[in-house]
Symmetry: C2
């Protein structure tokens, strides 16, 4: 029997750098992959089924919801998005760690459906820095930025639902912290699989 992989749920405000950290982590570590969501929205040019998303018809998606085949799902405006349980569990069984980059509502659903997951909240070093990042990257009007910052303040009230907080000031340092969290989780006494010969003696 092999030790199962760890399901790593990463949330945090847009602009905190979750995606960048996840990609850097996958470059540094073996045996870790990013979960691909399913969606009912149309495939856009340049996107690929099974790479960007798994593209499902709405009927198919609703059928899977009814059969309890999602670890979590949500309807955002007109489209459904969700994480297919089977894909994730298969990877975990094969000793592969899986990263789920997901919003707070999704994370709370995962807590119900897969409580062994590790919940990490990624934050920028300050609201000021976040403001700059949103401004420089997304070129949004100030009014929109203020709206998003208020959402962030609301999101912060959910931090206690997460096991860990990683502050993404320097990427290298934040990735190192993520690596340590994964390593430490693998040393947890309830995760360790004792395959040495203590029992054989």
């Amino acid at each position: 029997m092999k030790k199962p992989g760890i399901l790593i749920v990463i949330s945090g405000p847009s602009g905190a750098g979750k995606g960048t950290l996840a990609k850097a982590l996958m470059r540094k570590r073996e045996g870790i992959e990013l979960s691909i969501s399913a969606t009912t929205r149309e495939k856009r040019p340049g996107e690929h089924d099974g790479v960007t998303y798994y593209y499902l018809q709405e009927e198919e998606f609703l059928g899977k919801i009814n059969q309890g085949l999602f670890l979590e799902y949500a309807k955002v405006y007109d489209h459904y998005y969700g994480t297919i349980k089977e894909k994730v569990l298969q990877a975990l069984e094969n000793n592969i760690d899986v990263i789920l980059e997901i919003d707070i509502q999704g994370a709370l659903q995962i807590k119900q459906s897969y409580s062994d997951a590790v919940f990490i909240f990624v934050l920028p070093p300050s609201l000021e820095v976040l403001k700059e990042r949103i401004f420089c990257r997304d070129r949004e009007p100030l009014e929109e930025i203020e709206k998003r910052l208020n959402e962030v303040k609301n999101e912060l009230t959910y931090i206690d639902e997460y096991d860990y907080v990683v502050i993404n000031d320097e990427i290298e340092e934040a990735v190192r912290q993520l690596e340590c969290i994964i390593e430490a989780e693998k040393c947890k006494s309830n995760h360790r699989f004792f395959n040495f010969d203590f029992k054989g003696e």
Copy 2:
């Protein structure tokens, strides 16, 4: 306000290499120290008060027990051994991590008196390796070794009381795991001290 240090309680069978790991960890990291126990036993040649142990008269030791000044204590044969609460808490308040190398009974006491501590059980890779280590290091008769190995099997039943298990096969790797555990603990959402300006905005 500074983040307090972490109290790291390390237990494990004699021969697992707890002491070696603790020393290696202190060489690699800043801001971490090994707790010095108090004892009522006589100072031996080459030992120094406040370095090897704090040497107390029995009356003084019993007085401190009555005043609840120990994080844990035990009587082993004719002598008392214990960890003075004030010394440890002072270091933690000054943002210094403290390692307590201690037996299971002591660790269980710490769980009562300082539940924020992190509990790590160090194991050799196998009983066979442990046997060799005890034999080579301590040159004990086989009968005595068997007795100690039986004690180890009994100790293993307490593993669930610990947060983490580190298997000391390669020292470098075991030290890296200990470092990761400390780093991860500092990222715990209930440990993080949010001194960035999220609240100020």
